[in-house]
């Protein structure tokens, strides 16, 4: 478990046109946006939040050239070294005839590699349980989670979000970072401790 349990102020917006200025003002104010959860890709939101560009496509390119070299070197090795087969007296090193398979393997390596990398980076896999700040984040709400530190006055953040146009505001505790299926239990423990105090 990395990251530990943290406190978040969560504000839900019902219009992306309100969300954009809100993201801007929250960042200006110096609050740390943990993440914004949206039901569809809102274009430009990543820039507004100051996220860096993804380099997933670079990974895709690397997988692609791996596919190309695998196909070409394997076929060359088989037909010129391991078992040179005489096919109608044609050259053993039949590069033009290998273009189709080389191309297919380029595409296959790139696609499979990229999807696996995507799942790895986003920590997506079956049986993964994650904290969902709002169930309607996949329906019609744009949910902003602001991370609180010891020094954060969360009442202040809440009123700030309200001014920025959030429709629903609450405070939640959640674990950040890596986890597989342990999240819910951890959250309950934390709450119980809270009550005992």
């Amino acid at each position: 478990m990395a990251g530990g349990i943290k406190k978040f102020v969560v504000g839900s917006f019902d219009d992306e046109a309100v969300l954009f200025p809100a993201v801007k003002s929250v960042r200006k104010q110096g609050y740390k946006i943990h993440d914004v959860y949206t039901p569809f890709p809102v274009h430009g939101l990543d820039h507004a939040m100051g996220l860096r560009e993804t380099s997933l496509h670079t990974a895709g390119f690397i997988y692609a050239i791996t596919g190309t070299t695998t196909a070409l070197s394997f076929m060359s090795w088989v037909f010129t070294k391991d078992w040179p087969l005489n096919i109608g007296g044609k050259p053993h090193f039949a590069l033009p005839a290998w273009i189709p398979i080389t191309f297919e393997l380029t595409v296959l390596f790139s696609a499979v590699g990229m999807v696996l990398t995507f799942c790895y980076l986003c920590q997506l896999s079956p049986f993964v349980k994650k904290h969902h700040f709002h169930p309607r984040a996949t329906d019609d709400l744009f949910v902003m989670a602001i991370e609180c530190t010891d020094k954060t006055n969360d009442a202040e953040v809440q009123s700030f979000l309200e001014k920025a146009g959030a429709k629903e505001i609450n405070v939640q505790h959640a674990e950040t970072g890596w986890w597989i299926g342990r999240y819910d239990r951890e959250q309950k423990l934390y709450k119980e401790k809270d009550i005992n105090l």
């Binding site: 046109a17 993440d35 914004v36 959860y37 949206t38 039901p39 569809f40 890709p41 274009h43 939101l45 990543d46 939040m49 996220l51 560009e53 993804t54 997933l56 496509h57 895709g60 394997f74 076929m75 088989v78 037909f79 391991d82 078992w83 087969l85 096919i87 044609k90 039949a94 005839a97 290998w98 189709p100 398979i101 191309f103 297919e104 393997l105 595409v107 296959l108 696609a111 499979v112 990229m114 999807v115 995507f118 799942c119 980076l121 986003c122 920590q123 997506l124 896999s125 079956p126 049986f127 349980k129 994650k130 969902h132 169930p135 309607r136 984040a137 996949t138 329906d139 019609d140 949910v143």
Partner: protein, 483 residues
């Protein structure tokens, strides 16, 4: 109100009715939250029945050999390879819609891409059956894979178009599946978050891989979709090109023509769109999705049909002309006698193909007919029959009279098990499609939401009002902001 994008008011809305984001979710998810209807059960059981008949036909073929089909020494490829090429072709429309139209930034793809991609995957599954079972000794099927073996190792022939097919079809299936499923993740998460029962929550939770909708994830998802679209575009063109190489690299008159790759690709997209029409006209009606799959969508697809149909027609005439102009007696015999001569044993199939693929789609030059559901549905069936006959004509009329007249085999007609196998793939296809329509969102939910404010009917109307009231102010506020 600040809208983030601007779309010309001349364009038809892509989402009809007064919708907001939640309404979109409601409309698309609620059919899969309800119990299946009686109609669904009837359709599903008919499909399963066909699938079982197909399985029995395959069992006969495996037990007694390829002789169970009416193939013979001369006609070694008959219905089986015809069906294979036909099914692969059907698949192509899905990739065209999801990949090529994504690169071309065609907003209307959002309404139809999910179902079309599903169709692609199921069609490729059906297509794959034919070459596999046609091997006869199917338990040796793994011989097509280049694995280190105890026979030398004796490798597969990388110079053979049939092996290229193995790589092309399997890559196509894998990439289509990944593309489709990565697009499904956010929508499955929506179903999960709405689920009422524990079982549904668990199943859709597993299926949605724990998707949250984080901005960073969306950013990567967009990048992934774009690159997969970029990869799928040449891939889909390569797949039918390679299928056409099965014929074009041979020395059989009627087959060895250089026009085959573009001609096959155009034909594939043509038949694929016809199948998309057949399916979606039913789906939109039964599931009440007329607001999302509008007449505009149907018209757009009919435009693709008339375009690709005309390319195919042009290719037919070109190959006929070249056969004559090339002055190769065998080639000309194949075209003038085996095909174009209506009194020859299979002449009827050539003219049926010509009528279905070249003449009938020309109806779609009329806007009124393009927007007519009944005509479109009828035409989609006609086109699919026509495209099946195209493959039949190419395969059978080229080989039933070979270079040795004593081995001419004039009266090839399929056996019941050959037909049963074909019907079985229909069973497989529709069984999968019924399950898909029942358990998965048939429309790409997130994508519809992302175009709602630019192309939704109510939003477009609002924009027109602002535009009319003060066009200068509108331009500064809305249009500039969009760029």
């Amino acid at each position: 109100m600040s809208l983030l994008k601007y779309e010309s008011q001349q364009r038809e809305p892509l989402v009809d009715g007064n919708k907001n984001y939640h309404q979109v979710t409601e409309d698309i998810i609620s059919p899969i939250e309800m119990k299946p209807t009686r109609l669904w059960y009837i359709g599903f059981y008919i499909s399963v029945g066909l699938l079982l008949f197909g399985a029995y036909s395959v069992y006969r073929e495996v037990t007694y050999g390829i002789g169970q089909w009416n193939l013979n020494k001369t006609i070694g490829w008959g219905w089986d390879i015809t069906n294979f090429v036909w099914w692969v072709g059907i698949g192509h429309a899905g990739t065209l819609i999801s990949a090529i139209l994504l690169l071309f930034r065609q907003g209307w793809r959002t309404g139809v891409n999910r179902a079309a991609e599903a169709m692609t995957i199921f069609a490729v599954m059906c297509a794959g059956q034919f070459p596999i079972w046609h091997m006869g000794r199917v338990w040796m099927a793994f011989f097509v894979l280049p694995y280190p073996n105890s026979r030398g190792p004796l490798w597969v022939n990388f110079n053979s178009p049939l092996l290229w097919d193995v790589f092309a079809i399997s890559t196509y299936f894998t990439v289509s599946l990944l593309f489709w499923y990565s697009g499904l993740l956010p929508d499955l998460a929506t179903v999960r978050d709405r689920a009422k029962t524990k079982l549904r929550k668990m199943l859709y939770g597993v299926a949605s891989f724990g998707w949250t909708g984080s901005t960073k994830h969306w950013q990567r998802h967009e990048s992934l979709s774009l690159v997969l679209a970029g990869l799928s575009t040449p891939l889909v063109l390569s797949v039918h090109t390679i299928v056409s190489f099965d014929f074009a690299t041979s020395v059989v008159p009627g087959w060895h023509t250089t026009i085959f790759p573009p001609y096959f690709v155009a034909g594939a997209i043509f038949s694929g769109f016809a199948m998309v029409q057949t399916l979606l006209i039913v789906v939109r009606k039964v599931m009440g999705l007329q607001d999302y799959i509008t007449l505009g969508h149907i018209e757009a697809m009919n435009k693709v049909i008339v375009l690709t149909g005309s390319i195919v027609g042009c290719a037919y005439l070109t190959e006929l002309f070249i056969a004559w102009y090339g002055q190769n007696p065998y080639e000309w015999y194949a075209f003038s006698q085996n095909r174009a001569n209506i009194f020859s044993p299979y002449g009827w199939s050539y003219w049926l193909m010509m009528f279905c693929n070249v003449v009938s789609p020309q109806l779609f030059w009329s806007r009124k007919l393009r927007r007519n559901i009944t005509v479109t549905f009828f035409m989609s069936i006609v086109v699919n029959i026509g495209m099946w006959y195209e493959r039949f004509v190419i395969i059978v009329t080229s080989i039933y009279r070979d270079f040795l007249p004593s081995s001419w085999s004039t009266y090839y007609s399929p056996s019941i098990w050959e037909i049963g196998f074909y019907l079985g793939t229909f069973g497989l296809f529709f069984t999968c499609f019924f399950l898909f329509a029942k358990y998965f969102p048939v429309i790409a939910l997130a994508e519809i939401k992302s175009i709602l404010k630019t192309s939704g009917e109510n939003y477009k109307a609002k924009m027109t009002d602002i535009e009319k009231a003060d066009s200068e102010k509108f331009y500064v506020e809305e249009v500039e902001h969009a760029h």
